[in-house]
């Protein structure tokens, strides 16, 4: 049974590497639980959040004063495992939660956290269902409906297209949520939708969806989806000599960072996003450099920036409310709810304030992809 020992040793080694996240820190540090999918199909989003949060915590700890300790747990994008991860970080002494990264687990965890009175600020779970009916659940990202409405407005105001095709992921709350609100707003504005097709997380072949858009004569294809399927759609459209305007939302951010991606495919793609790693302002440039150091050279996407902002927003609110490492999670929760009513924070993803139902208000920016970079739309 030698091979069994070898296997066990290998698995243990992997577990240990994954455990590096929870590095030991000062006793009286502010403890934030970070929950997201660090492995599995959605790992890319969870890891972006983890590294983004890490950059923020490192910056804060380097300044001195109240320190921050991150307690990271993997949830594999699974609601049950996410609740387990939540229980684990709470057992380790977490006082507030940065997370969870993805929507479906976030809905499950926030229900428990609402009962137990633990404050949650999700970087990226954007469904309207996330904060609904919970006074302690806040978002850093835009809510999906807002994205759909912004998109319809920008397309109409700038006459980007007259016949619109939509390709969305109907297995995904994020994508469906944006699509539904986009559709409602389009009807209101008189924007004609000529083709609506769907796919799921496992889809590899997009020829049917793109053909439907082409055959319907769409001159704009709206893609309220993440960049991985979007890259396949762009490739498929090119193969068919179909060149409409492609319009994406914040999930499109990251497409240029894909290793091996032919950036010319994305030329002319318009996207709405609160964050761009190509932005030249000092704060972003600094963040990108630090993120690359932490993550082993990857370019941060919007998830990373949202998580960075989440840690700072919680930290600023904690300072203002006098929360330190000894405050109980329950007390911290009530104090943070009070703070977030008036909190103003300007971070990587814009100037933010929050409404009492947990939604953020900030403005998205429209960018056009040009020569492998982002250019602000209209410039």
């Amino acid at each position: 049974m030698k091979f069994n020992k070898a296997l066990v040793a290998m698995i243990l080694a992997i577990v240990m590497v994954m455990g590096l996240c929870t590095a030991a820190m000062a006793e009286d540090a502010l403890k934030m639980g970070v929950i997201g999918p660090f492995t599995g199909a959605a790992a890319i989003y969870g890891n972006a959040c983890k590294y983004g949060a890490q950059v923020a915590a490192d910056e804060i700890n380097a300044q001195g004063g109240l320190q921050v300790q991150l307690l990271c747990e993997d949830d594999e994008h699974d609601p049950e495992k996410s609740v387990n991860a939540y229980n684990t970080v709470m057992d380790q002494g977490a006082q507030m939660i940065v997370g969870t990264t993805t929507t479906t687990p976030c809905i499950a965890v926030s229900a428990v956290a609402y009962e137990e009175r633990v404050f949650m600020l999700t970087p990226s779970a954007s469904s309207a269902k996330v904060p609904e009916g919970k006074d302690n659940m806040y978002q850093v990202c835009f809510e999906d409906p807002a994205m759909g409405i912004f998109s319809a407005q920008i397309i109409t105001e700038n006459s980007l297209g007259s016949k619109v095709a939509v390709i969305y992921n109907n297995a995904d709350d994020y994508s469906t949520g944006i699509y539904q609100n986009f559709k409602t707003k389009s009807e209101e504005l008189g924007l004609e939708i000529v083709s609506e097709t769907t796919f799921t997380d496992e889809t590899t072949d997009f020829s049917v969806q793109v053909t439907a858009a082409k055959d319907a004569g769409a001159d704009l294809v709206f893609l309220p989806i993440y960049y991985t399927p979007a890259s396949m759609i762009l490739q498929t459209a090119k193969g068919m000599d179909y060149a409409p305007v492609f319009f994406g939302v914040d999930g499109m951010d990251g497409i240029l960072a894909m290793e091996g991606f032919d950036a010319s495919l994305a030329d002319g793609v318009i996207l709405l996003t609160p964050f761009s790693a190509f932005s030249e302002d000092e704060h972003t440039v600094d963040f990108v450099a630090k993120y690359q150091a932490v993550s082993g050279g990857e370019t941060p996407n919007q998830f990373a920036a949202d998580a960075y902002d989440a840690v700072y927003a919680l930290y600023n609110a904690s300072l203002a409310a006098g929360i330190d490492g000894s405050t109980s999670a329950e007390d911290a929760c009530e104090k943070l709810i009070e703070q977030f009513a008036t909190l103003q924070y300007s971070g990587l993803t814009g100037d933010m304030t929050w409404t009492s139902d947990g939604k953020v208000s900030k403005l998205p920016n429209a960018y056009v992809i040009k020569d492998g970079g982002y250019v602000a739309y209209g410039e």
Binding site: A41, A43, I44, T197, V208, T228, G239, G260
Partner: protein
């Protein structure tokens, strides 16, 4: 009509990829009588190796494919030796669960090595495309290559199992493991060889899959793997021509179903087909297969 043709070609292209993956499933099932659920993940490993060989080492595409085949062959033999061989006498369920474990192990190891960020597979086999009907019908070189590779592999495999000594040993093991052993065939070596061939095929399938659908991530192999398993069952698991026909039909059904019924139900249709086949054809589709074989098809399960 043109759009129907277009869907048909896309279906054949997708189906050819399923068919090559299904060939690996069928080979292993036919001989070792086990469902190697890690097959889909070996595909993913093959694609990553080819990707690394091309992008980091700058090797030419063909050499990269050979590299991927070599690595996958070794990987297949190692997996078989470490995880499956000790369970040769165990229940089928134990082997099945081990295979699922291996699948997770490969996925998560890939996640550690190559990270979760998707990589875009270079379009090395893209040498232009054929345009018909005023550009309404586009046939890409990847499509043609996939179909040709599929046919070549199927013929080669059929000849191998029918004509060579090792192939005959495989058929004998497939028919009756005990009797084959008594006749002096090294069963363990034969099964290892099957895994080696199956894994080399997986490497080719990985490269073809990623040439046609270029996003490469650690979970890339899992869904095509499951669909190809469906195709193998559809064609009568254990039968080489059956796997090919099953794969092609499944690809066509998937694309046409999406195009004419509903994009939302695409996968549901594929799996509904599996259920219907299992309901009405509980026994493997047998023997209308190879010219070289004796009455039973080269790898069809033992007749009862």
């Amino acid at each position: 009509m043109v759009s129907f043709l277009r869907f048909l070609i896309n279906g054949i292209s997708l189906g050819s990829v399923y068919a090559i993956i299904a060939l690996g499933y069928t080979m292993v099932y036919g001989i070792a009588k086990m469902l190697n659920f890690a097959h889909g993940d070996i595909i993913m490993v093959g694609a990553y190796i080819a990707f690394c060989a091309m992008s980091y080492l700058g090797l030419p595409p063909l050499v990269s494919v050979l590299c991927a085949m070599a690595v996958c062959t070794a990987l297949g033999i190692v997996i078989e030796g470490l995880a499956y061989k000790p369970l040769r006498q165990a229940t089928k369920l134990a082997v099945l669960i081990t295979a699922i474990g291996v699948s997770y192990f490969l996925q998560n190891t890939a996640l550690l090595i190559w990270s979760s960020n998707p990589k875009i597979f270079p379009s090395v086999f893209s040498v232009g495309s054929l345009k018909l009907f005023d550009g309404n019908l586009v046939i890409t070189s990847e499509t043609v290559l996939t179909i040709v590779a599929n046919i070549v592999i199927m013929i080669a495999l059929t000849l191998f199992t029918g004509r060579t000594k090792m192939g005959k040993a495989m058929r004998a093991v497939s028919e009756d493991k005990g009797a084959a052993e008594l006749m002096g065939i090294n069963v363990n070596r034969t099964i290892s060889l099957t895994f080696a061939i199956g894994s080399a095929l997986a490497a080719i399938a990985g490269v073809l899959l990623c040439s046609a659908y270029p996003t490469l991530q650690p979970t890339t192999g899992s869904m095509p793997g499951i669909k190809a398993f469906t195709a193998a069952v559809f064609g009568g698991i254990g039968s080489i021509p059956g796997a090919m026909i099953g794969g092609l039909l499944l690809g066509i059904i998937e694309i046409l179903g999406k195009a004419y019924i509903s994009t939302e139900l695409g996968d549901a249709i594929v799996f509904a087909v599996l259920i219907i086949v299992l309901l009405f054809k509980p026994r493997p589709r047998s023997t209308t297969s190879s010219p070289t074989a004796s009455p039973s098809s080269p790898l069809s399960p033992a007749r009862r």
